[in-house]
Protein backbone atom coordinates (compact mmCIF):
# COMPACT_ATOMS: atom_id res chain seq x y z
CA UNK A 1 0.00 0.00 0.00
CA UNK A 2 2.93 2.27 0.64
CA UNK A 3 3.80 2.27 -2.99
CA UNK A 4 0.27 3.14 -3.95
CA UNK A 5 0.30 5.87 -1.38
CA UNK A 6 3.48 7.39 -2.73
CA UNK A 7 2.28 6.96 -6.24
CA UNK A 8 -0.91 8.84 -5.54
CA UNK A 9 1.06 11.51 -3.71
CA UNK A 10 3.33 12.20 -6.64
CA UNK A 11 0.53 12.00 -9.13
CA UNK A 12 -1.52 14.45 -7.14
CA UNK A 13 1.51 16.66 -6.60
CA UNK A 14 2.12 16.86 -10.32
CA UNK A 15 -1.51 17.62 -11.03
CA UNK A 16 -1.86 20.17 -8.29
CA UNK A 17 1.36 22.04 -8.76
CA UNK A 18 0.99 21.92 -12.50
CA UNK A 19 -2.49 23.32 -12.48
CA UNK A 20 -1.52 25.95 -9.90
CA UNK A 21 1.29 27.05 -12.19
CA UNK A 22 -1.13 27.13 -15.06
CA UNK A 23 -3.48 29.33 -13.08
CA UNK A 24 -0.81 31.87 -12.34
CA UNK A 25 0.78 31.92 -15.76
CA UNK A 26 -2.01 31.38 -18.25
CA UNK A 27 -3.18 34.37 -20.18
CA UNK A 28 -6.62 33.01 -20.74
CA UNK A 29 -8.89 33.71 -17.85
CA UNK A 30 -11.47 31.07 -18.64
CA UNK A 31 -8.91 28.33 -18.92
CA UNK A 32 -7.38 29.49 -15.70
CA UNK A 33 -10.70 28.89 -13.99
CA UNK A 34 -10.79 25.31 -15.30
CA UNK A 35 -7.30 24.75 -13.99
CA UNK A 36 -8.33 26.30 -10.73
CA UNK A 37 -11.01 23.66 -10.41
CA UNK A 38 -8.51 20.94 -11.17
CA UNK A 39 -6.21 22.47 -8.63
CA UNK A 40 -8.94 22.42 -6.02
CA UNK A 41 -9.71 18.83 -6.79
CA UNK A 42 -6.02 18.03 -6.37
CA UNK A 43 -5.94 19.76 -3.00
CA UNK A 44 -8.98 17.75 -2.03
CA UNK A 45 -7.03 14.67 -2.97
CA UNK A 46 -4.23 15.73 -0.67
CA UNK A 47 -6.64 16.10 2.17
CA UNK A 48 -7.77 12.59 1.40
CA UNK A 49 -4.23 11.36 1.59
CA UNK A 50 -3.83 13.10 4.91
CA UNK A 51 -6.85 11.28 6.27
CA UNK A 52 -8.85 14.49 6.43
CA UNK A 53 -11.63 13.01 4.37
CA UNK A 54 -14.31 15.32 5.53
CA UNK A 55 -12.14 18.27 4.63
CA UNK A 56 -11.45 16.78 1.25
CA UNK A 57 -15.11 16.55 0.43
CA UNK A 58 -15.90 19.94 1.85
CA UNK A 59 -13.03 21.33 -0.17
CA UNK A 60 -14.53 19.90 -3.31
CA UNK A 61 -18.05 21.00 -2.51
CA UNK A 62 -17.11 24.52 -1.52
CA UNK A 63 -14.25 25.29 -3.82
CA UNK A 64 -14.90 23.31 -6.93
CA UNK A 65 -18.63 23.54 -6.51
CA UNK A 66 -19.09 27.08 -5.33
CA UNK A 67 -15.99 29.26 -5.38
CA UNK A 68 -15.02 28.27 -8.88
CA UNK A 69 -18.57 28.94 -9.96
CA UNK A 70 -18.37 32.41 -8.52
CA UNK A 71 -15.17 32.98 -10.44
CA UNK A 72 -16.70 31.77 -13.62
CA UNK A 73 -19.75 33.91 -13.11
CA UNK A 74 -17.73 36.98 -12.43
CA UNK A 75 -15.62 36.43 -15.48
CA UNK A 76 -18.73 36.05 -17.53
CA UNK A 77 -20.47 39.03 -16.04
CA UNK A 78 -17.61 41.39 -16.68
CA UNK A 79 -18.03 42.88 -20.08
CA UNK A 80 -14.94 43.73 -22.04
CA UNK A 81 -12.51 41.57 -20.18
CA UNK A 82 -9.17 42.05 -21.81
CA UNK A 83 -8.45 39.28 -24.15
CA UNK A 84 -5.41 37.11 -24.27
CA UNK A 85 -3.45 39.61 -26.27
CA UNK A 86 -1.95 41.77 -23.61
CA UNK A 87 0.54 40.70 -21.07
CA UNK A 88 -1.15 39.51 -17.96
CA UNK A 89 1.77 39.65 -15.62
CA UNK A 90 4.22 42.18 -14.34
CA UNK A 91 6.95 42.41 -11.76
CA UNK A 92 7.77 38.86 -12.73
CA UNK A 93 11.42 39.07 -11.88
CA UNK A 94 10.96 40.55 -8.42
CA UNK A 95 8.11 38.26 -7.57
CA UNK A 96 10.05 35.26 -8.73
CA UNK A 97 13.00 36.18 -6.57
CA UNK A 98 10.85 36.81 -3.53
CA UNK A 99 8.76 33.70 -3.81
CA UNK A 100 11.83 31.68 -4.65
CA UNK A 101 13.53 32.94 -1.54
CA UNK A 102 10.47 32.13 0.48
CA UNK A 103 10.26 28.64 -0.90
CA UNK A 104 13.96 28.08 -0.38
CA UNK A 105 13.95 29.18 3.20
CA UNK A 106 10.84 27.19 3.93
CA UNK A 107 12.21 24.03 2.40
CA UNK A 108 15.42 24.50 4.29
CA UNK A 109 13.52 24.99 7.47
CA UNK A 110 11.36 21.99 6.88
CA UNK A 111 14.13 19.62 5.88
CA UNK A 112 16.69 20.80 8.37
CA UNK A 113 14.69 21.66 11.39
CA UNK A 114 11.76 19.36 11.12
CA UNK A 115 13.65 16.36 9.90
CA UNK A 116 12.24 13.39 11.71
CA UNK A 117 9.80 15.51 13.64
CA UNK A 118 6.41 14.01 14.10
CA UNK A 119 5.70 10.51 13.01
CA UNK A 120 6.66 9.11 9.70
CA UNK A 121 4.09 9.58 7.04
CA UNK A 122 1.69 6.82 7.71
CA UNK A 123 -1.96 6.17 7.65
CA UNK A 124 -3.79 6.78 10.83
CA UNK A 125 -7.41 6.43 11.47
CA UNK A 126 -9.41 9.15 9.90
CA UNK A 127 -11.29 11.34 12.33
CA UNK A 128 -14.97 10.74 12.30
CA UNK A 129 -17.45 13.50 11.77
CA UNK A 130 -18.52 12.98 15.36
CA UNK A 131 -15.06 13.93 16.65
CA UNK A 132 -15.05 17.02 14.50
CA UNK A 133 -18.50 18.07 15.55
CA UNK A 134 -17.72 17.43 19.18
CA UNK A 135 -14.85 19.87 19.13
CA UNK A 136 -16.46 22.33 16.79
CA UNK A 137 -19.62 22.74 18.80
CA UNK A 138 -18.07 22.80 22.23
CA UNK A 139 -14.63 24.37 22.33
CA UNK A 140 -14.99 26.34 19.14
CA UNK A 141 -18.61 27.31 19.33
CA UNK A 142 -17.91 31.01 19.47
CA UNK A 143 -15.58 31.03 16.47
CA UNK A 144 -18.14 28.93 14.69
CA UNK A 145 -20.87 31.46 15.36
CA UNK A 146 -18.55 34.27 14.40
CA UNK A 147 -17.73 32.60 11.14
CA UNK A 148 -21.39 32.20 10.41
CA UNK A 149 -21.77 35.87 11.09
CA UNK A 150 -18.90 36.61 8.74
CA UNK A 151 -20.66 34.62 6.09
CA UNK A 152 -23.84 36.55 6.65
CA UNK A 153 -22.00 39.83 6.38
CA UNK A 154 -20.27 38.67 3.22
CA UNK A 155 -23.61 37.64 1.78
CA UNK A 156 -25.27 40.94 2.54
CA UNK A 157 -22.21 42.85 1.43
CA UNK A 158 -21.97 41.03 -1.85
CA UNK A 159 -25.63 41.58 -2.58
CA UNK A 160 -25.32 45.23 -1.69
CA UNK A 161 -22.24 45.77 -3.77
CA UNK A 162 -23.57 44.14 -6.86
CA UNK A 163 -27.19 45.17 -6.58
CA UNK A 164 -28.21 47.18 -9.54
CA UNK A 165 -28.85 50.73 -8.55
CA UNK A 166 -32.04 52.35 -9.63
CA UNK A 167 -31.90 53.39 -13.23
CA UNK A 168 -28.53 51.84 -13.76
CA UNK A 169 -29.38 49.87 -16.83
CA UNK A 170 -29.16 46.13 -16.88
CA UNK A 171 -25.83 44.53 -16.73
CA UNK A 172 -27.04 41.97 -14.32
CA UNK A 173 -27.77 38.32 -14.30
CA UNK A 174 -31.15 37.90 -15.84
Amino acid sequence: MDVLYNLSFWLLAIITVGSALMVVTLKNLSRAVIFLVIFFLGVGGFYFLMQAKFLALIQVVIYAGAVAVIFAFVIMLTPGLPGTKIRQSLNQGVALIITGLFLGSMSLLIYKQLAGAGKAAGIEKSLSLKDLGQVLFTDYLLPFELVSFVLLVALVGAVLLTARERGEGNGGLE
Binding site: V33, I58, G65, V69, M76, E174
Partner: protein, 348 residues
Protein backbone atom coordinates in the same frame (compact mmCIF):
# COMPACT_ATOMS: atom_id res chain seq x y z
CA UNK B 1 -18.18 -19.38 -5.13
CA UNK B 2 -21.49 -20.55 -6.34
CA UNK B 3 -24.02 -18.45 -8.13
CA UNK B 4 -26.17 -18.58 -5.03
CA UNK B 5 -23.41 -17.07 -3.02
CA UNK B 6 -22.83 -14.42 -5.65
CA UNK B 7 -26.43 -13.41 -5.42
CA UNK B 8 -27.29 -13.86 -1.80
CA UNK B 9 -24.00 -13.40 0.02
CA UNK B 10 -22.23 -10.94 -2.20
CA UNK B 11 -20.01 -9.66 0.60
CA UNK B 12 -18.55 -13.05 1.36
CA UNK B 13 -18.24 -13.77 -2.31
CA UNK B 14 -16.29 -10.59 -2.88
CA UNK B 15 -14.10 -11.33 0.10
CA UNK B 16 -13.26 -14.77 -1.09
CA UNK B 17 -12.48 -13.61 -4.59
CA UNK B 18 -10.23 -10.95 -3.16
CA UNK B 19 -8.38 -13.44 -0.96
CA UNK B 20 -8.10 -15.94 -3.74
CA UNK B 21 -6.56 -13.54 -6.19
CA UNK B 22 -4.22 -12.04 -3.63
CA UNK B 23 -2.97 -15.44 -2.55
CA UNK B 24 -2.60 -16.50 -6.10
CA UNK B 25 -0.60 -13.41 -6.83
CA UNK B 26 1.58 -13.97 -3.81
CA UNK B 27 2.29 -17.50 -4.95
CA UNK B 28 3.38 -16.14 -8.28
CA UNK B 29 5.57 -13.55 -6.53
CA UNK B 30 3.53 -10.55 -7.49
CA UNK B 31 3.55 -7.86 -4.77
CA UNK B 32 0.27 -7.16 -3.02
CA UNK B 33 -0.10 -3.65 -4.30
CA UNK B 34 0.03 -4.75 -7.89
CA UNK B 35 -2.73 -7.25 -7.39
CA UNK B 36 -4.65 -4.58 -5.55
CA UNK B 37 -4.15 -2.22 -8.41
CA UNK B 38 -5.22 -4.90 -10.81
CA UNK B 39 -8.34 -5.59 -8.81
CA UNK B 40 -9.15 -1.91 -8.72
CA UNK B 41 -8.89 -1.73 -12.45
CA UNK B 42 -11.10 -4.76 -12.84
CA UNK B 43 -13.72 -3.30 -10.53
CA UNK B 44 -13.53 0.00 -12.36
CA UNK B 45 -14.04 -1.73 -15.67
CA UNK B 46 -17.00 -3.64 -14.34
CA UNK B 47 -18.54 -0.49 -12.92
CA UNK B 48 -17.90 1.44 -16.07
CA UNK B 49 -19.45 -1.22 -18.27
CA UNK B 50 -22.42 -1.43 -15.94
CA UNK B 51 -22.91 2.29 -16.14
CA UNK B 52 -22.61 2.39 -19.89
CA UNK B 53 -24.91 -0.53 -20.45
CA UNK B 54 -27.35 0.79 -17.98
CA UNK B 55 -27.37 4.23 -19.51
CA UNK B 56 -27.80 2.77 -22.94
CA UNK B 57 -30.75 0.85 -21.65
CA UNK B 58 -32.14 3.97 -20.05
CA UNK B 59 -32.07 5.93 -23.28
CA UNK B 60 -34.07 3.18 -24.88
CA UNK B 61 -36.38 2.99 -21.91
CA UNK B 62 -37.05 6.68 -22.03
CA UNK B 63 -38.05 6.57 -25.62
CA UNK B 64 -40.28 3.59 -25.05
CA UNK B 65 -41.94 5.20 -22.04
CA UNK B 66 -42.40 8.42 -23.93
CA UNK B 67 -43.87 6.51 -26.81
CA UNK B 68 -46.29 4.54 -24.72
CA UNK B 69 -47.39 7.54 -22.71
CA UNK B 70 -48.08 9.33 -25.96
CA UNK B 71 -49.90 6.27 -27.29
CA UNK B 72 -47.34 5.26 -29.84
CA UNK B 73 -44.71 2.55 -29.94
CA UNK B 74 -41.38 4.28 -29.81
CA UNK B 75 -38.39 2.60 -31.45
CA UNK B 76 -39.34 -0.73 -32.93
CA UNK B 77 -37.05 -1.46 -35.84
CA UNK B 78 -33.66 -2.36 -34.38
CA UNK B 79 -34.00 -5.60 -32.54
CA UNK B 80 -37.08 -6.80 -30.73
CA UNK B 81 -39.01 -3.73 -29.60
CA UNK B 82 -36.06 -1.62 -30.71
CA UNK B 83 -33.85 -2.91 -27.92
CA UNK B 84 -30.78 -2.43 -30.06
CA UNK B 85 -31.60 1.19 -30.76
CA UNK B 86 -28.95 2.54 -28.34
CA UNK B 87 -26.30 0.51 -30.05
CA UNK B 88 -27.28 1.94 -33.36
CA UNK B 89 -27.31 5.41 -31.90
CA UNK B 90 -23.89 4.89 -30.42
CA UNK B 91 -22.41 3.73 -33.67
CA UNK B 92 -23.96 6.66 -35.46
CA UNK B 93 -22.60 9.17 -32.95
CA UNK B 94 -19.15 7.61 -33.03
CA UNK B 95 -18.84 8.07 -36.72
CA UNK B 96 -20.30 11.53 -36.85
CA UNK B 97 -18.02 14.45 -37.37
CA UNK B 98 -17.25 16.32 -34.20
CA UNK B 99 -17.80 19.88 -35.23
CA UNK B 100 -16.01 22.70 -33.50
CA UNK B 101 -17.20 26.18 -34.26
CA UNK B 102 -14.77 29.03 -34.75
CA UNK B 103 -13.96 31.29 -31.74
CA UNK B 104 -14.59 28.45 -29.40
CA UNK B 105 -12.15 27.79 -26.65
CA UNK B 106 -11.28 24.33 -27.76
CA UNK B 107 -9.63 23.26 -24.57
CA UNK B 108 -12.61 23.86 -22.35
CA UNK B 109 -14.96 22.83 -25.10
CA UNK B 110 -13.42 19.39 -25.24
CA UNK B 111 -12.70 19.01 -21.59
CA UNK B 112 -16.19 19.83 -20.35
CA UNK B 113 -18.14 16.81 -21.60
CA UNK B 114 -15.42 14.45 -20.49
CA UNK B 115 -15.23 15.92 -17.04
CA UNK B 116 -18.97 16.12 -16.73
CA UNK B 117 -19.38 12.45 -17.50
CA UNK B 118 -16.50 11.54 -15.25
CA UNK B 119 -17.91 13.46 -12.36
CA UNK B 120 -21.30 11.91 -12.91
CA UNK B 121 -19.75 8.47 -12.83
CA UNK B 122 -17.87 9.24 -9.65
CA UNK B 123 -21.11 9.07 -7.78
CA UNK B 124 -21.30 5.33 -8.37
CA UNK B 125 -18.20 4.46 -6.44
CA UNK B 126 -19.93 5.08 -3.14
CA UNK B 127 -23.28 3.54 -4.04
CA UNK B 128 -23.84 0.20 -2.29
CA UNK B 129 -25.42 -2.09 -4.82
CA UNK B 130 -25.41 -5.01 -2.46
CA UNK B 131 -23.66 -5.88 0.78
CA UNK B 132 -19.97 -5.60 0.02
CA UNK B 133 -20.60 -4.43 -3.49
CA UNK B 134 -19.45 -0.94 -3.16
CA UNK B 135 -16.24 0.34 -4.62
CA UNK B 136 -15.37 2.64 -1.77
CA UNK B 137 -17.47 2.57 1.41
CA UNK B 138 -16.43 6.08 2.35
CA UNK B 139 -17.26 7.45 5.74
CA UNK B 140 -18.54 10.55 4.10
CA UNK B 141 -20.19 8.91 1.12
CA UNK B 142 -23.20 11.17 1.19
CA UNK B 143 -21.11 14.29 0.94
CA UNK B 144 -19.06 12.67 -1.75
CA UNK B 145 -22.17 12.28 -3.86
CA UNK B 146 -22.97 15.93 -3.59
CA UNK B 147 -19.38 16.94 -4.24
CA UNK B 148 -19.38 14.92 -7.43
CA UNK B 149 -22.70 16.45 -8.42
CA UNK B 150 -21.38 19.93 -7.84
CA UNK B 151 -18.29 19.34 -9.95
CA UNK B 152 -20.31 17.84 -12.72
CA UNK B 153 -22.65 20.81 -12.84
CA UNK B 154 -19.68 23.15 -13.02
CA UNK B 155 -18.62 21.45 -16.20
CA UNK B 156 -22.07 21.71 -17.62
CA UNK B 157 -21.71 25.40 -17.05
CA UNK B 158 -18.31 25.63 -18.70
CA UNK B 159 -19.64 23.65 -21.62
CA UNK B 160 -22.37 26.19 -22.16
CA UNK B 161 -19.95 28.99 -21.66
CA UNK B 162 -17.26 27.76 -23.98
CA UNK B 163 -19.69 27.07 -26.78
CA UNK B 164 -19.72 30.75 -27.66
CA UNK B 165 -23.43 30.60 -28.17
CA UNK B 166 -25.83 32.73 -26.25
CA UNK B 167 -28.36 29.97 -25.82
CA UNK B 168 -25.70 27.70 -24.47
CA UNK B 169 -24.48 30.41 -22.18
CA UNK B 170 -27.96 31.04 -20.85
CA UNK B 171 -28.40 27.35 -20.28
CA UNK B 172 -25.09 27.23 -18.45
CA UNK B 173 -26.13 30.04 -16.19
CA UNK B 174 -29.42 28.39 -15.54
CA UNK B 175 -27.64 25.19 -14.66
CA UNK B 176 -25.58 26.87 -12.03
CA UNK B 177 -28.46 28.80 -10.55
CA UNK B 178 -30.67 25.75 -10.54
CA UNK B 179 -28.14 23.31 -9.24
CA UNK B 180 -27.06 25.55 -6.40
CA UNK B 181 -30.66 26.26 -5.50
CA UNK B 182 -31.63 22.63 -5.41
CA UNK B 183 -28.46 21.23 -3.95
CA UNK B 184 -29.06 22.92 -0.63
CA UNK B 185 -32.53 21.49 0.08
CA UNK B 186 -31.34 18.18 -1.25
CA UNK B 187 -28.47 18.05 1.21
CA UNK B 188 -30.73 19.19 4.00
CA UNK B 189 -33.28 16.53 3.21
CA UNK B 190 -30.57 13.89 3.04
CA UNK B 191 -29.19 15.05 6.34
CA UNK B 192 -32.41 13.99 7.97
CA UNK B 193 -31.71 10.45 6.88
CA UNK B 194 -28.10 10.75 7.95
CA UNK B 195 -29.25 11.85 11.36
CA UNK B 196 -31.42 8.76 11.65
CA UNK B 197 -28.62 6.47 10.65
CA UNK B 198 -26.08 8.41 12.68
CA UNK B 199 -23.68 8.18 9.80
CA UNK B 200 -22.86 9.63 6.43
CA UNK B 201 -21.69 6.29 5.18
CA UNK B 202 -24.16 5.02 2.62
CA UNK B 203 -23.63 1.40 3.62
CA UNK B 204 -24.45 2.19 7.20
CA UNK B 205 -27.43 4.19 6.14
CA UNK B 206 -28.75 1.20 4.27
CA UNK B 207 -28.08 -1.11 7.17
CA UNK B 208 -29.83 1.26 9.53
CA UNK B 209 -33.03 0.78 7.52
CA UNK B 210 -33.35 -2.85 8.28
CA UNK B 211 -37.02 -3.54 8.76
CA UNK B 212 -38.21 0.01 8.42
CA UNK B 213 -37.47 2.05 5.36
CA UNK B 214 -36.75 5.67 5.75
CA UNK B 215 -39.59 6.59 3.43
CA UNK B 216 -41.94 5.66 6.23
CA UNK B 217 -40.09 7.70 8.79
CA UNK B 218 -39.27 10.59 6.53
CA UNK B 219 -42.05 10.90 3.96
CA UNK B 220 -41.63 14.64 3.72
CA UNK B 221 -37.89 14.24 3.37
CA UNK B 222 -38.40 11.76 0.55
CA UNK B 223 -40.72 14.07 -1.35
CA UNK B 224 -38.35 16.98 -0.90
CA UNK B 225 -35.41 14.91 -1.96
CA UNK B 226 -37.26 13.67 -4.99
CA UNK B 227 -38.20 17.18 -6.02
CA UNK B 228 -34.72 18.49 -5.43
CA UNK B 229 -33.23 15.57 -7.27
CA UNK B 230 -35.35 16.41 -10.27
CA UNK B 231 -33.96 19.91 -10.14
CA UNK B 232 -30.45 18.68 -9.57
CA UNK B 233 -30.49 16.23 -12.48
CA UNK B 234 -32.27 18.68 -14.75
CA UNK B 235 -35.19 16.40 -15.35
CA UNK B 236 -38.62 17.60 -16.35
CA UNK B 237 -40.46 19.50 -15.08
CA UNK B 238 -37.27 21.23 -14.06
CA UNK B 239 -35.33 20.77 -17.30
CA UNK B 240 -35.00 24.47 -17.85
CA UNK B 241 -31.49 24.28 -19.20
CA UNK B 242 -32.43 22.25 -22.19
CA UNK B 243 -35.80 23.76 -22.77
CA UNK B 244 -36.09 23.18 -26.46
CA UNK B 245 -38.59 25.92 -27.04
CA UNK B 246 -36.38 28.52 -25.43
CA UNK B 247 -32.79 27.43 -25.73
CA UNK B 248 -32.65 25.04 -28.70
CA UNK B 249 -30.87 22.27 -26.86
CA UNK B 250 -29.40 24.17 -23.99
CA UNK B 251 -25.75 23.76 -23.29
CA UNK B 252 -25.47 20.90 -25.79
CA UNK B 253 -26.57 23.01 -28.71
CA UNK B 254 -23.16 23.32 -30.29
CA UNK B 255 -22.01 19.83 -29.48
CA UNK B 256 -22.06 17.00 -31.84
CA UNK B 257 -20.64 13.56 -32.28
CA UNK B 258 -19.05 11.80 -29.37
CA UNK B 259 -18.91 14.90 -27.23
CA UNK B 260 -22.63 15.20 -27.49
CA UNK B 261 -22.95 11.56 -26.65
CA UNK B 262 -20.92 12.06 -23.50
CA UNK B 263 -23.30 14.74 -22.31
CA UNK B 264 -26.22 12.61 -23.18
CA UNK B 265 -24.77 9.70 -21.28
CA UNK B 266 -23.86 12.00 -18.42
CA UNK B 267 -27.42 13.13 -18.06
CA UNK B 268 -28.72 9.60 -17.79
CA UNK B 269 -25.88 8.59 -15.54
CA UNK B 270 -26.95 11.36 -13.29
CA UNK B 271 -30.53 10.36 -13.37
CA UNK B 272 -29.83 6.79 -12.48
CA UNK B 273 -27.44 7.90 -9.79
CA UNK B 274 -30.17 10.05 -8.31
CA UNK B 275 -32.60 7.17 -8.39
CA UNK B 276 -30.04 4.84 -6.84
CA UNK B 277 -29.26 7.38 -4.17
CA UNK B 278 -32.91 7.75 -3.31
CA UNK B 279 -33.17 3.99 -3.16
CA UNK B 280 -30.25 3.93 -0.77
CA UNK B 281 -31.45 6.75 1.38
CA UNK B 282 -35.15 6.14 1.52
CA UNK B 283 -36.10 2.77 0.14
CA UNK B 284 -33.82 0.55 2.15
CA UNK B 285 -31.18 -0.01 -0.53
CA UNK B 286 -30.62 -3.62 -1.30
CA UNK B 287 -32.84 -4.92 1.45
CA UNK B 288 -35.84 -7.01 0.63
CA UNK B 289 -37.17 -10.55 0.96
CA UNK B 290 -36.52 -13.58 -1.26
CA UNK B 291 -34.86 -11.89 -4.19
CA UNK B 292 -31.11 -11.33 -4.18
CA UNK B 293 -29.98 -7.92 -2.88
CA UNK B 294 -28.70 -6.70 -6.23
CA UNK B 295 -32.01 -7.44 -7.82
CA UNK B 296 -33.85 -5.62 -5.13
CA UNK B 297 -31.62 -2.64 -5.50
CA UNK B 298 -32.05 -2.46 -9.25
CA UNK B 299 -35.78 -3.01 -8.98
CA UNK B 300 -36.23 -0.12 -6.63
CA UNK B 301 -33.94 2.12 -8.59
CA UNK B 302 -35.76 1.34 -11.81
CA UNK B 303 -39.09 1.96 -10.22
CA UNK B 304 -37.87 5.42 -9.33
CA UNK B 305 -36.43 5.91 -12.79
CA UNK B 306 -39.76 5.09 -14.29
CA UNK B 307 -41.40 7.50 -11.89
CA UNK B 308 -39.06 10.24 -13.01
CA UNK B 309 -39.71 9.49 -16.64
CA UNK B 310 -43.41 9.48 -15.97
CA UNK B 311 -43.05 12.96 -14.50
CA UNK B 312 -41.27 14.11 -17.59
CA UNK B 313 -44.03 13.18 -19.93
CA UNK B 314 -46.80 14.28 -17.61
CA UNK B 315 -45.96 17.65 -16.21
CA UNK B 316 -45.34 20.83 -18.18
CA UNK B 317 -42.09 22.66 -17.71
CA UNK B 318 -42.21 25.50 -15.22
CA UNK B 319 -40.79 28.98 -15.63
CA UNK B 320 -37.28 29.82 -14.48
CA UNK B 321 -38.29 32.40 -11.88
CA UNK B 322 -40.96 30.06 -10.55
CA UNK B 323 -38.33 27.41 -10.37
CA UNK B 324 -36.05 29.53 -8.25
CA UNK B 325 -38.84 30.77 -6.04
CA UNK B 326 -40.06 27.27 -5.57
CA UNK B 327 -36.68 26.19 -4.36
CA UNK B 328 -35.83 29.06 -2.06
CA UNK B 329 -39.23 29.88 -0.71
CA UNK B 330 -40.87 26.52 -0.49
CA UNK B 331 -38.52 23.55 -0.60
CA UNK B 332 -35.74 25.05 1.42
CA UNK B 333 -37.89 26.10 4.38
CA UNK B 334 -39.64 22.76 4.34
CA UNK B 335 -36.33 20.95 4.27
CA UNK B 336 -35.14 23.00 7.19
CA UNK B 337 -38.28 22.21 9.13
CA UNK B 338 -37.88 18.55 8.29
CA UNK B 339 -34.32 18.55 9.49
CA UNK B 340 -35.18 20.45 12.63
CA UNK B 341 -38.06 18.18 13.53
CA UNK B 342 -35.94 15.11 12.86
CA UNK B 343 -33.22 16.43 15.10
CA UNK B 344 -35.70 17.25 17.83
CA UNK B 345 -37.32 13.85 17.67
CA UNK B 346 -33.93 12.20 17.81
CA UNK B 347 -32.85 14.22 20.79
CA UNK B 348 -35.94 13.08 22.59
Amino acid sequence: MSLWQLLYEPDRWADEINKLITNWGLQLGIPVFITQLFLMIVVAVILLSFILLNVAFLTWLERKVAGHIQVRHGPMRTGPHGILQPVADGIKLLFKESITLPFVDNFIYTLSPAMMFTAAMLTYIVLPFAPGWVVAPLDYGLIFVFAAGGVSSFFVFTAGWSSNNKYSLLAGMRTIAQVISYEIPMILAALGVALFAGSLNLVEIVEAQKGLWNIVVQPLGFLLFLTAALGETHRAPFDLLEAEQELVAGYMTEYSGMRFALFYLGEYTHMFAAAALMTTLYLGGWQGPYLPPVVWFLLKAYALVLLIMWFRWTYPRIRIDHLMNFSWKFILPLALINLGVTALVLVW
